[in-house]
Symmetry: D2
Subunit: 310 residues, 4 copies
Amino acid sequence: MMRLDSSAAGLFPIAVTPFTPDGKVCSASVDSMTDFYLSCGATGLTILGIMGEAPKLDLQDSLAITKQVCARAAKIPVIVGVSSPGFAAMASLARGAMERGAAGVMIAPPSNLRTDDQIVNYYAQAIEAIGDDIPVVVQDYPLTLTVVMTPKVLRTIFQNHASCVMLKHEDWPGLEKISAMRGFTADGSMKPISILTGNGGLFLDFEMERGADGAMTGYAFPDMLADVVRLSKAGEREAAHDLFDAHLPLIRYEQQQGAGLAVRKYVLMKRGAIRSDAQRKPASSITAKAKAEVDYLLARLARKDRRAAV
Amino acid sequence: MMRLDSSAAGLFPIAVTPFTPDGKVCSASVDSMTDFYLSCGATGLTILGIMGEAPKLDLQDSLAITKQVCARAAKIPVIVGVSSPGFAAMASLARGAMERGAAGVMIAPPSNLRTDDQIVNYYAQAIEAIGDDIPVVVQDYPLTLTVVMTPKVLRTIFQNHASCVMLKHEDWPGLEKISAMRGFTADGSMKPISILTGNGGLFLDFEMERGADGAMTGYAFPDMLADVVRLSKAGEREAAHDLFDAHLPLIRYEQQQGAGLAVRKYVLMKRGAIRSDAQRKPASSITAKAKAEVDYLLARLARKDRRAAV
Amino acid sequence: MMRLDSSAAGLFPIAVTPFTPDGKVCSASVDSMTDFYLSCGATGLTILGIMGEAPKLDLQDSLAITKQVCARAAKIPVIVGVSSPGFAAMASLARGAMERGAAGVMIAPPSNLRTDDQIVNYYAQAIEAIGDDIPVVVQDYPLTLTVVMTPKVLRTIFQNHASCVMLKHEDWPGLEKISAMRGFTADGSMKPISILTGNGGLFLDFEMERGADGAMTGYAFPDMLADVVRLSKAGEREAAHDLFDAHLPLIRYEQQQGAGLAVRKYVLMKRGAIRSDAQRKPASSITAKAKAEVDYLLARLARKDRRAAV
Amino acid sequence: MMRLDSSAAGLFPIAVTPFTPDGKVCSASVDSMTDFYLSCGATGLTILGIMGEAPKLDLQDSLAITKQVCARAAKIPVIVGVSSPGFAAMASLARGAMERGAAGVMIAPPSNLRTDDQIVNYYAQAIEAIGDDIPVVVQDYPLTLTVVMTPKVLRTIFQNHASCVMLKHEDWPGLEKISAMRGFTADGSMKPISILTGNGGLFLDFEMERGADGAMTGYAFPDMLADVVRLSKAGEREAAHDLFDAHLPLIRYEQQQGAGLAVRKYVLMKRGAIRSDAQRKPASSITAKAKAEVDYLLARLARKDRRAAV
């Protein structure tokens, strides 16, 4: 069985959860979407994240999707989001996911946490609940979760728990945080960890230069994310920025909270990754005007990147 | 099958969820606790509420408790809290609870709701998800949930949905809100609804005088709550206040957020309602000093109300 | 000139700011209110706090009130609330207040602070802005401010700044925090500080027993607060609780956020401390029903404490 | 005297407040900055906004800056941000600003507002406090203020108050809100208003196409904002997007909360608009790495827009 460790790098797309227009999980699209991410150069995959409409799924749905994706993407590690209001549900999902082939789980702090101690204790309790043998990704996403974890707090968590191997970095602004975390490993005060970055890719160009290992986000052109990660690691700075900048108008458009998922699914549908852009209720939607705007952005992008000619 | 309707009144205790010291649901205590509430004069029962550690339970636990309580308290309506981050989990629990004998469900708004329209829409979506044949209690608890529902918004929800039959009133301060809601029914702009009040009972004396139908809260002396409701309805104002005031020092002590549940379970254990005051993790605890303070409050109370001599 | 230090104890009422019905500061009532607090046994006075409608005052108003109160209450230390969104305004008010006879200032953290470091840094910056020669009261009020300061964070602040001499304790639940802070001084890790408690007095009985030095709150019977502090320090536990419990129904009623200030001013007016219960806009108000409820509580209280016969 | 009205359009830069390295307002830079904005094609100017470090200024500072800017930019309307925790301070600043030549004031809702009615009432009270003869800009900025105003609530405010003439649109995502507000005027349910957009310009390309009248934001190339507004109004869609897209990598970089102001001032200093990029304490700062990143972005931008060759 594959297990996530701190050497993880490259592109871990945050997968959407495909639904049929009547709100059922679209099993056919789960397969085609997985194949699409693999063809885009994914080195791992993250499912049931916040953008994956995870809270709209019940346990049965969640485990079925996990099983299907892990089987289809057997060659790469699959991370499963297990954030829950309570540890019982978190542990049920985490253990169930690992049994179905997941390589690790991702845990975000609940939004009522405030003090440094509360955050450190929360991860201790969560890891006690799920077991310390399951690799854990710590999700740092203050913009949505309103929980602020300083670099020192994150270091404490990673030092306290051998099973914590990756930081899903989604602070904003967050470039200095990447530098700070890398500095901890450099000065010997923290073990090496994997850092993958989120925020829809909006700062991926500079995040790589600050020391990130790759991207973990859901932008509808994961192939571009993979390219930018590769170019940046290869030292081809100008080429990385040129490609990134070409996509930035659309990245920016997709990054709108709420509306973003509707745009993302719309583009993924146009690219053939999923059959329908339906969201399970409560759904955000995309107006005719917004669709026309996205189409216009795609048309402009296609002049520089043919993959956008959909 | 019993179904909750707008004539509900009296005392609906918010039941704790009893655990064994090693974190399992204590089945024996579920029965003894149910019997205790019945002996206290409960006219209904609410389980799996926020104070009932519901987020710490998984679906299986939740349904098992529901089944056991509904069987044991077959003569009175049982309301099951089904608030969930997503509608799939909410619907699973709501339907499962009704199949096991529940009389209705209670739904609190998620804390990210802000505008009047968002709140009204949320209840529309929730009721669509669970089905409009399940009686619904609208839980109004801004202190913890940070969602503020004006009387007008509540009226809209009650008028939009025939299945919404009860308001769990827990706004603070909230006396004027009771008057406002009763005014809507008086002026013909809203159907009659049942209003039961929470907040640990801290304002029950005046809530009854403003028109509440009873109490729905978890204070460890539900027999006192039943007495105050009865005395107040009988017009024995002084007697109601005298009894209430005797308990107020302990009510106030139990009302402390976080610490309160530990106090409540400690007193319920002392009264024989449950075998252990254990909470499932993450648990709040009660220090030796706090226990001594509660014991002191009980001793003082026992001079006026013998039920406190435990 | 009197300067606040860590020996401060007893009763520091949080003064209301008296207005005329047309919204002007009522100068005559500023004097009569000060005299009233002195006659109640105040050993200090706090003005321009959150409940003192401070944000509704401009700098000119604030300094005029400070000057008048400091002159009138020349024998006791006066603390001035100087919390501000910016340090320029805070420093202007703090220095202006000290020039007019204040003994110290009170600073609450702004509600956007989250991490331990942010809170510690904020106090460092605030004290740099106002000067480290001004005695400072640290206001810990998470229920309203949403900033959670752990005992360790508070200790760091008190150890970092010699000018920080008092904790306005208003956490809820907060009894364990008093014990923790006293423990720090006992184990030698923190200098002795003064701890005065707020929350409308709702837990004063036990706060004193946990080691508080006194009360700093605005309950409309400050004379009762002074008595409870005195009785508790004299070891007359039963007498302290008996008096406290008699007032608890009204304390509880006054403690309602928003409505509370209207109740407090109404009672203070009835007691002759101020001429009008007017608040400057935006004002909370008290309905006829609420007035009747307060009058009823006063009548019941008067049977046990003649001071309530107003 | 110039007065703001609903015909306002074009570019209203959100001015920074220039400080000397020792924290004093830099009077020379106030002039040079004003001249810079004028030379960039500003058709109006907004000072003392949230990004203008307004909370760090005391009343005296604020009025002095207002006087100086209004005198220097006598040909264009100057809007002054007057948001305050209390109405007394707001009214003092608003009236003082108008006396010194301001054309109108901007008011943001305080972050504790929740319900629709609270928001509507707040603007009614604010306008009563400052007087209904002062033109008002309603600032809608939920990302920072956490207050969510629906289109219907905004319509009510604009219909209730003749003096409300402009919406500072800063919702995110916000394109549909612009369409909704324009729809209200089209269907006759709302008077015509001016809509200027913020968010650092991140969506200006499409905001103009949805019907905005121009930009009100602080991006360090206001000349580019003016160009995009002009090109978009002239129907030169491709040219508008081409220019916008060239700047988007830097716009995005400047948009980082906290860090953004440091970047903005750094670029404005490099462009000669202000002498120092100092912020008054508490200041965000820009590391050497971040400076190198901004310099790199400027170098890349300069290939497409010579104005970036600084």
